[in-house]
């Protein structure tokens, strides 16, 4: 039996993703382990989300199809660069974002940024799609193709239920 992280990685790759950057989140732990072990892709764990946007931009310039794996809290640190790099140059970067502060969250400080996540993406004008069901993993993967069509960054917001962790103790 495969896990949602395994299926997600396969779907992202099936849609052409071949370069990944990541900043950790507990919800993303298994996916990040898989990225680290996958010899068929290029993968870089970065120190901060804005740096991740930079390496993804460079990867696209180099002919790759980049995916940024990050937590929604990092969105607040990359707004300027999403405007002046990702959107200004029309770079198709798929952002796989774990949506902390949604039901299942145990840490109260995650909630304010959780509430602000969609409004920030609205202000940016970045197309985003929220998923709560692991059965939607194929739809998430298709966002890699959609970013190419849209010619701009696109985002998936993946909450606790998507990761099958809506009911257990997580950090």
């Amino acid at each position: 039996m495969t896990t949602v992280s395994q299926e997600l990685l396969e779907e992202l790759k099936r849609n052409g993703a071949d370069y990944f950057a990541s900043v950790p989140c507990k919800l993303l732990g298994e996916l990040i382990d898989l990225l680290d072990q996958d010899q068929t892709i290029a993968y870089t764990p970065v120190a901060k989300e804005e740096e991740g946007l930079g390496v993804c931009a460079g990867a696209y310039l180099g002919g790759k199809t980049p995916v940024m794996v990050m937590q929604n809290t990092g969105l607040g640190t990359i707004v300027t660069s999403l405007f002046s790099l990702g959107l200004f140059y029309n770079l198709p970067i798929t952002m796989i974002i774990s949506h902390r502060g949604t039901p299942g969250e145990k840490i109260g400080t995650q909630v304010p940024m959780s509430n602000a996540t969609k409004p920030i993406l609205d202000v940016l004008g970045i197309p985003y799609f929220a998923f709560s069901n692991p059965a939607d993993v194929q739809k998430v993967g298709r966002l890699v193709s959609h970013a190419q069509v849209a010619q701009k960054p696109v985002a998936a917001l993946l909450d606790f239920d998507f990761w099958g962790k809506g009911g257990i103790n997580n950090q």
């Binding site: 930079g54 390496v55 990867a59 310039l61 180099g62 300027t80």
Partner: protein, 192 residues
């Protein structure tokens, strides 16, 4: 006359432009390089201060993963790399051999009026790069950077050159190019 980034770029353009893919930092560095020698192999950053090193890293990794032998030179500055120091650690651990980071260190935020950066004080960028895990780190003064760059282009990296120069810039006009045009002509020349 003092030896500034403009004089440095004029000295190294003949060995760099057309022989490597160049990521040029936001503001005066891009304007100066465009003025000295434009090329489809130059990518001009019009925004996102701090990300020149990271864009260069991602580009170099992409080429390395395809066994593409092209060299990538990211031209970054002291003020901008201080905004994104974590990327030195990423380069120290994941930087490919085809990557050269040219840190033009003039101790000033040049595009905003030459306010001093911390490298004009106690901060040592070369020491930070070494401590981040980058083994090939070179410090040059004025025109010494040309020889260092030539050597780095012939050997396996990742390399960092901290090129110390005087602050100040000539008056130049903004680059008259659409970002989509900069992107597309660069991507076309990268893919051959």
């Amino acid at each position: 006359m003092s030896y500034r980034r403009y004089e440095l770029l004029k000295d190294i353009a003949p060995i760099m432009v057309g022989n490597a893919l160049i990521i040029a930092n936001i503001g005066f560095p891009s304007q100066e390089l465009y003025n000295i020698q434009d090329s489809p192999q130059n990518f001009y950053m019009l925004g996102s201060m701090g990300l020149s090193s990271s864009i260069g890293l991602g580009l170099a990794q992409s080429l390395a993963s395809k066994n593409d032998p092209q060299t990538v030179i990211a031209i970054d500055g002291d003020g901008s790399v201080l905004m994104n120091l974590g990327t030195l650690a990423t380069i120290g651990n994941y930087g490919p051999s085809n990557f050269i980071l040219l840190l033009v260190d003039n101790g000033a935020y040049g595009s905003t009026g030459d306010q001093p950066t911390h490298t004009a004080g106690k901060t040592d960028l070369a020491g930070m790069a070494r401590a981040a895990g980058i083994e090939s780190v070179h410090v040059t003064q004025d025109d010494e950077a040309k020889i260092a760059l030539e050597q780095c282009m012939k050997t396996l990296g990742p390399h960092v050159i901290v090129a110390k120069v005087a602050p100040g810039s000539p008056q130049l006009k903004p680059i008259p190019m659409d970002p989509g045009y900069i992107r597309d002509r660069f991507r076309q020349v990268v893919s051959g």
